[in-house]
């Protein structure tokens, strides 16, 4: 992934001003960078990421700017000049540029093309009224001429600054940097991955949309949640249900097959899901252009995508009109095959693995989801908000989706479906049935609806049942909801020893959750200090509904701790290394981590001598901490 810029890929353009522009590189369009100019998109398509491009002056017979790759020697020309010994006046590269170079530690000078010193800093005099002799109109004129990618403007600006010779080396460097940021016509293309998108959201878009979740927090959540590739895909066999079969044909959930599944509560518009999917290897579509020699990188996701493409092809044929590009004859063909298929469904669907070519369409009750390496999202609204996944070509709302690895690894259900599935219409309404004959007599649209509803029923049935079967490998949250209430309903679903990682932009919510597992509370619980749990079975204790004294069963989590992390960025320049003065994306965030414990049955006491004064904190050795 991310080797070359592909047509229609989402990319981040980093501008000299430090801002980032995120856009989709559509072929045959002009990309405008505002004041820095514009260029045809085809000039960056097919090129590598992370190169620095420079907009060149328009050739006399062309009406667009061509791009030039700026070599690193030129990018760092000034730094090299700074580092250079007094002996060598000219930097190794970028000889045509006018650069500021340090002749010694103290003084900076501006040298022109021939190496003559045109300006020299002087530490004694700092003129407050230093000013630019070029008028705004003249600068505009220079910009319009716009020669040499803005470098001429910068050089002229520096030269026409009356007090340039009075600036200290530091203020001179700063002045030059300021002008460079403003006028140099360069940009860099970065791929849209989770790190880049999160940074862009945080610094330039709405940080609250992703709950101010910074890179450090994403890293911590992923690691403490132990999120990783959860095993090769395992698909359930197609039951080959005929249209006349109802509920009884549904594939039962096989608990032994369910492995490497993570439970997620995500209120960051899908950023958390994307970060987890990235860690599990199911976020990026594989690149079909054979830039890779590694064949298995294709192999793993192509199988599911083949599966999916057939499913979406099937949907195409059943929902005429939903794909506007299909011309009329094709639609008719589609409905024909659909009829044939509906009648011939049972004999065709046997065996989980089918050849790629002319694979028979899966029956309505075939489960497209992998049993391993999946993310299960529980959402509070009736539909999950995973809008940021659009940047990776995944649209959860799209009914017939082009192949994407998330399609059969991302399972979503609402809290209602999880906790009270009998109240959810799509779960509890039994599936429609019809004999093939009746079906054949229906109009195509009605038939399409019939299949769609049956498919939806089977999928929801599977998601809900599999989720309720529990045994998840971990829980990762970044939610605005109270973590205590989330834990109450999700803890029973976790496998023993499964990690829990909860992000919150404020510490109070996490502290309240951690307090539910405090040592005194736990001691009271196991030491008989809680009359309300007398006589409850282990199963009942696991699903403890909570009361005021014990909002959660305090023995279900071990090692509850809260932490926060902060990256401090530094500027590293010769003689000018220091932390950055300001940083964007400022708010802190906190992560609560713990492991799911399987408490021993019956009363249990910690080792150690203690006076039995009360059911109290001193009765506890750190053993129960």
């Amino acid at each position: 992934m991310h080797s070359l810029i592909r047509p229609n890929a989402w990319v981040a353009l980093k501008l000299p001003s430090g801002s980032t522009k995120v856009l989709q590189v559509t072929p045959n369009t002009t990309i405008s960078l505002g004041k820095y100019g514009s260029f045809p998109s085809n000039l960056i398509i097919g090129r590598p990421y992370h190169l620095t491009f420079e907009l060149q002056d328009r050739l006399p017979d062309e009406n667009f700017s061509r791009l030039r790759v700026v070599p690193p020697s030129e990018l760092y020309a000034e730094v090299f000049a700074d580092e250079a010994a007094p002996g060598c006046e000219m930097p190794a590269a970028g000889a045509t540029d006018t650069v500021i170079s340090a002749t010694d530690g103290e003084e900076f000078s501006l040298v022109d093309d021939d190496g003559n010193v045109v300006a020299r800093s002087n530490r004694e005099i700092i003129d407050e009224s230093a000013r630019q002799t070029l008028t705004q109109a003249e600068i505009e004129e220079l910009k319009r001429e716009g020669s040499n990618a803005g470098k001429d403007v910068i050089a002229k600006l520096l030269l026409s600054h009356t007090a340039l010779d009075q600036k200290t080396s530091f203020s001179l460097a700063k002045y030059k940097l300021l002008k460079t940021k403003k006028y140099i016509r360069r940009f860099q293309v970065s791929p849209i991955d989770v790190a880049n998108l999160a940074q862009w959201q945080l610094e330039e878009r709405d940080a609250s949309k992703i709950l101010d979740m910074r890179a450090e927090m994403i890293g911590l959540l992923g690691c403490w949640g132990n999120v990783h590739f959860g095993g090769d895909d395992v698909l359930l066999e197609d039951p080959g249900a005929t249209t006349a079969q109802g509920d009884e044909a549904c594939v039962p959930v096989d608990r032994d097959l369910l492995r490497g599944r993570w439970l997620v509560v995500d209120d960051t518009s899908g950023l958390l899901v994307a970060a987890m999917a990235e860690r599990m290897g199911i976020l990026y579509e594989t690149e079909d252009e054979g830039a890779h020699s590694s064949s298995e990188e294709h192999k793993e996701p192509t199988e599911p995508s083949a599966e999916q493409s057939s499913a979406s092809a099937a949907e195409n044929s059943q929902e005429p009109g939903s794909n506007p590009s299909v011309p009329a004859p094709a639609t008719q063909q589609g409905s024909d095959t659909e009829m044939a298929d509906a009648q011939a469904a049972p004999p065709e669907n046997q065996g989980g693995k089918k050849p790629r070519e002319q694979k028979p369409r899966a029956s309505d009750f075939a489960i497209p989801y992998s049993q391993t390496n999946t993310i299960t999202v529980i959402h509070g609204a009736s539909q999950p908000n995973l809008s940021l996944l659009n940047y990776w070509g995944f649209d959860i709302t799209s009914p017939n989706h082009p192949p994407h690895p998330l399609l059969n690894h991302l399972l979503t259900l609402s809290w209602l479906q999880l906790l009270k599935p009998e109240l959810d219409t799509s779960y509890s309404t039994p599936p429609l049935t019809a004999t093939p004959e009746t079906l054949a007599s229906w109009k195509p649209s009605r038939r399409g609806n019939f299949h769609r509803k049956r498919r939806r029923y089977a999928r929801i049935r599977h998601i809900v049942d599999a989720t309720r079967a529990g045994n998840f490998s971990g829980l990762v949250c970044a939610s605005t909801m109270d973590p205590i209430s989330i834990l109450r309903h999700t803890l029973p679903l976790l496998a023993g020893g499964a990690p829990v990682a909860i992000y919150s932009p404020n510490v109070e919510a996490l502290a309240a959750a951690a307090d539910c597992f405090s040592v005194p509370r736990r001691t009271a619980w196991v030491g008989g200090g809680a009359p309300e749990i007398e006589g409850l079975s282990a199963e009942e204790l696991e699903r403890w509904p909570g009361n005021e004294r014990f909002p959660l069963n305090p023995t279900l989590l071990q090692g509850v701790s809260i932490q926060t992390s902060r990256a401090r960025h530094w500027q590293v320049l010769p003689g000018r290394t220091h932390p950055l003065m300001t940083e964007r994306g400022g708010a802190d965030g906190y992560v609560l981590t713990a492991w799911r414990a399987k408490p021993a049955e019956g009363k249990i006491a910690a080792k150690g001598k203690f006076k039995r004064r009360k059911v109290e904190s001193e009765a506890v050795t750190p053993a129960s901490g």
Binding site: R47, H50, P71, H292, A495, A511, A524, T564, K598
Partner: protein
């Protein structure tokens, strides 16, 4: 080990539902006190214990048999294990042996086998008996738990650092990662988890970590650890000094997508991580070992941008590293420092009518409480003073009163409030008293190391550019995207809306047609 025939996945990657024999488990003694244990099936007496291998802690003794084949996360009760007589017995044995060694050296060879036979004779493993108190939890190994419990060999890269590093260097399933300075292996374990996408079959390329360690002993220990942890097919450990030896493995390029350097002098290793033979390397160390003069092979993936992170504690190292990176063409150079803080949530219990437990501050909670108490004391002393008394005694009493006032006040208060505390304990449980607070830990790691990140774009030649230019010719631009002015955006919007309406009507038309078709066929 033949990776194709592998049946057991590393417990770090898939621990399975229950604990297994001969596999790593982490015993959690207390919150931050973790103990890695390789669980053994008890077969006969072990190390003097009748129960087989036993973990002895200050929280009790735990025979391995009680920890085997239980669900992960289980709370394990301590067992009654005879530790005392074992100690004496061993001492006696040792004494015996010392005697024997002193007298007959020739016997020494037979001694262990004899003892072994002796133990086999008493092979019946004693069933563990549960103790009345003490417990631990048993957790599946993860890189985080391993990092806090591993045997230190060098400075460890802790979770706050490695989590951020792996995120920034884009270590993902299927990536190939170079790690130099394996050290204690904490980063290695986290890196394996990040790049893991299945064990490679013969000739297959999967996510892999190429790890380098120049210290012989650390290398050997690491090698053993990796095999114990079932990570052999996923980590390729090489014993080498990368400054001179470079990063090729068996003369072949690992084709790394990401690099992590935990070395004292990263700038010495950086020239090896180039796309082409760097110029100054030929001067300085001539033919780098294993890299022939003619064919210099880059250890990097030629088809991708490569991400790097170096980990150095001192700023001088950073300066030199960054300088070297700039000269070698790395871009997006960024230096950061991670500050991690652990917070402890607790109850801040301050108040006069609380009990005398540890952690309770028996001073007034607020001004009102202080005022009430002062008034109370004042009233009582006035009461005392009002009582007609013998003059001498009165003076003494006054003195005593003044000195002992707080203590007396406390007692009186306790006497008074004792029943009411009982009442309140039913209303507010002691664990719910006080204000919930979070505090940082008294000792923090305020500086671990400076992290330098950078990216090396893939090589792009004139030919490549020409090919790309031919494939994507310019000149057919239709619209403008990116920073466009308001008018243009409005116009676009209008067109889009029109198109959508058009689409909708087309959809309607198609639906009509379909219905007709349906009628015909039905």
């Amino acid at each position: 080990m033949a990776p194709t025939t592998r049946t057991c996945v590393s417990p770090f990657l898939d621990p399975g539902p229950r604990t297994k024999a001969n596999s790593l488990a982490i015993v959690q003694l207390s919150r931050d006190n973790l103990l890695p244990v390789y669980l053994q099936v008890p077969n006969g007496e072990h190390d003097g214990y009748a129960e087989g291998a036993v973990v002895n802690t200050r929280y009790g003794s735990f025979p391995h048999s009680t920890m085997l084949d239980v669900p992960w996360g289980s709370q394990i009760r301590a067992s009654k294990v005879d530790t005392g007589s074992r100690g004496r017995k061993r001492k006696r044995e040792a004494d015996d042996q010392a005697c024997r060694e002193a007298t007959a050296v020739s016997e020494k060879d037979e001694e262990p086998s004899a003892a072994g036979a002796d133990r086999d004779g008493a092979a019946a493993v004693k069933q563990a008996v549960a103790d009345s108190s003490g417990f631990v939890h048993i957790l599946p190994p993860t890189p985080e738990l391993w990092t806090t419990s591993l045997p230190h060999r060098t400075q460890v890269v802790y979770t706050p650092d490695y989590s951020y590093i792996l995120h920034r260097i884009r270590a993902r399933p299927g990536s190939t990662l170079i790690e130099a300075g394996a050290g204690s292996g904490s980063f290695t374990h986290a890196a394996v988890r990040a790049v893991y996408n299945g064990y490679p079959a013969e000739g297959q390329r999967k996510g892999k970590v190429f790890s380098f360690e120049f210290h012989e002993q650390r290398y050997q220990k690491m090698k053993k650890e990796l095999s114990d942890h079932g990570l052999e097919g996923l980590v390729q450990l090489t014993h080498r000094d990368v400054y001179s030896g470079g990063f090729l493995v068996d003369g072949k390029s690992p084709e790394a997508d990401a690099v992590f350097l935990d070395l004292p002098a990263p700038w010495e290793a950086l020239p090896h991580l180039s796309r082409r033979r760097p110029q100054d390397m030929a001067d300085t160390d001539g033919a780098a070992a294993g890299n022939g003069q003619q064919s210099w092979v880059s250890p990097l993936n030629p088809r991708k941008s490569v991400y790097i992170c170096t980990f150095s504690p001192c700023i001088e190292q950073v300066t030199r590293t960054v300088s070297a990176m700039r000269r070698l063409g790395w871009v997006d150079i960024d230096m950061v420092e991670i500050a991690n803080r652990k917070l402890h949530a607790s109850r801040d219990r301050v108040g006069l009518n609380l009990n005398f437990d540890r952690g309770v501050n028996n001073s007034p909670r607020d001004v009102e409480e202080a005022l009430a108490r002062l008034a109370e004391i004042e009233a009582r002393s006035r009461e005392q003073a009002a009582k007609p008394r013998d003059a001498d005694a009165d003076e003494d009493m006054d003195l005593a009163d003044e000195v002992g006032a707080p203590a007396k006040g406390n007692e009186a208060r306790n006497g008074e409030h004792a029943p009411s505390t009982e009442e309140t304990s039913t209303a507010t449980a002691p664990w719910m008293e006080g204000r919930l607070i979070t505090r940082g830990e008294p000792e923090i790691k305020s500086h671990t190391s400076y992290l330098v990140f950078a990216v090396l774009p893939m090589e792009w030649t004139e030919q490549d550019e020409a090919a790309a230019a031919a494939k994507y010719p310019v000149g057919k631009e239709q619209k403008v995207i990116g920073a466009i002015d308001k008018a243009a955006r409005k116009q676009e919007r209008r067109e889009l809306l029109q198109k959508q309406q058009g689409g909708a009507s087309r959809k309607a038309r198609r639906k009509e047609r379909d219905e007709k078709l349906g009628e015909i066929s039905g």
